[in-house]
Amino acid sequence: MMNSSEAQPEEPGKNGKTTSSTRLRPGNGLTASNINFFYGQAQALYDVSLSFASGAVTALIGPSGCGKSTFLRSLNRMNETVKGARLEGSITLDGEDILKSDVNKVRRRVGMVFQRSNPFPMSIFANVAYGLDVNGIGRRGKIKEIVEESLVKAALWDEVKDKLHASANSLSGGQQQRLCIARALAVKPDVLLMDEPCSALDPIATAKIEDLIFGLRGECTIIIVTHNLQQAARVSEYTAFLLLGRLVEFSTTLDMFKNPRERETEDYVTGRFG
């Protein structure tokens, strides 16, 4: 793994528990401040603050129900579709308050890949071009170029270049997931959210996605939720540990897995609980 200081100008702060967790330059990257989240009366997140290093991969880990997916889905306002859900706090992307921005624009800048691949029932080409079309990006020639570029980045081009107009449903599970990543990359997002993107994949397909995540570093900020601690260790430069809706620790991934500061973190990563 590349040295974190090479990947990012600033390392996560020493105290990852509160708003002082990591500080990037004002207006730089994605920052969530004092996030409290409620499903009706039930509070799922408590005062979570995290600044994500631009161009780096950050993993969110924690036991089931700790709020990591809720937090992830807050970052591009996916939770707004949940009835009774309410969010307090602020989320800024390059200084712009995404909670007050146009939601379509937010989701173009903050893309998402889900646990289960969800290709549209259309061709491989149309899947990747879909976001371009919706966002009015590019002429026909340009779209072809972007589709190819996105499929190359998603490490899928060689496997599909001769059948771009075949149905996306004809692809294997791993290929479908990479297609979804290509579709997300096509609109050139600043941030890519990944919610357990490999949990339904076999080890070979998983390795391809992990290589792809590794290769995207520096190009866009990636935030990945995973239950697979070894995957977090392999692909991310920074890791945040959440427990019962609270941020317990945020540090470089190396520190998290070699010498975590908090007892709860150590117990979790060593499998003593959770």
Partner: protein
């Protein structure tokens, strides 16, 4: 998980058994120094055999734990420390044998160690080894720190003895054989102290996550 905790316990047990044998080998070699007892020397050799067998078993168990459990955090620090301590203990066993062999060499008159600082040096080295082993046994970083600060005193004695023994040879060539053996003994004791220091450094690593080797970080954790 329970299986891994059980295997970690076995690894700890093997290292402690080995450490116990090394302490016995060292104590035996110091007794051989004092009385040139061949029976005691043979016992030291027996300890070394057992230590070598345990070294292999410990390595195998540690490798198995790494391969099958992908340990992280304190478990990873413990296993990497155990691997290094294992290697240090094996070398300490060899050095104890060297001391015993130097003491019973039959081609010259018995060594009169009481006229040297060897008894004091041996006492300090035994204390260092005991502290290093106990710091491992009880994950006691304060005791480990004590080992680190003791090493300089042993080095000073060794340097003084080297100068005196070389001077003795220059003054009287007939003592050369005995003095060279004493130099080897002092050297072996000093190396055992170095290995005890390594063990203490590894204890600090697995207990506190500190890497104090080569003064990279102070023993108080300050860079």
């Amino acid at each position: 998980m329970l299986q891994m905790i059980d295997r970690l316990g076995q690894l700890r047990g093997k290292v402690l058994t080995m450490a116990n044998l090394v302490e016995k080998a060292l104590d035996g070699s110091v007794r051989v120094l004092a009385c040139q007892d061949e029976l005691e020397a043979r016992r030291v050799l027996d300890y070394e055999d057992a230590i070598n067998t345990l070294e292999v078993e410990t390595d195998q168990l540690a490798t198995e734990l790494l391969a099958l459990n992908q340990p992280v955090a304190k478990d990873l620090r413990f296993i990497t420390a155990a691997i290094k301590i294992n290697s240090d203990l094996e070398r300490m066993g060899d050095l104890a044998v060297n001391i015993a062999r130097s003491s019973i060499r039959g081609d010259h008159r018995p060594m009169d160690i009481d006229t040297t600082e060897i008894p004091e040096m041996a006492r300090r080295v035994q204390a260092m080894v005991r502290d290093a082993v106990q710091s491992f046994e009880s994950s006691d970083d304060e005791r480990a720190k004590r080992v680190l600060v003791s090493d300089d005193g042993v080095d000073e004695i060794k340097n003084r003895m080297f100068a005196q023994l070389v001077h003795g040879i220059e003054a009287d060539a007939t003592v050369a054989s005995v003095n060279v053996d004493l130099i080897f003994v002092a050297h072996s004791l000093e190396r055992i102290a170095d290995h005890a220091t390594n063990i203490a450094e590894d204890v600090l690593f697995f207990v506190k996550g500190l890497d104090v080797r080569h003064h990279r970080t102070s023993i108080d954790g300050k860079s």
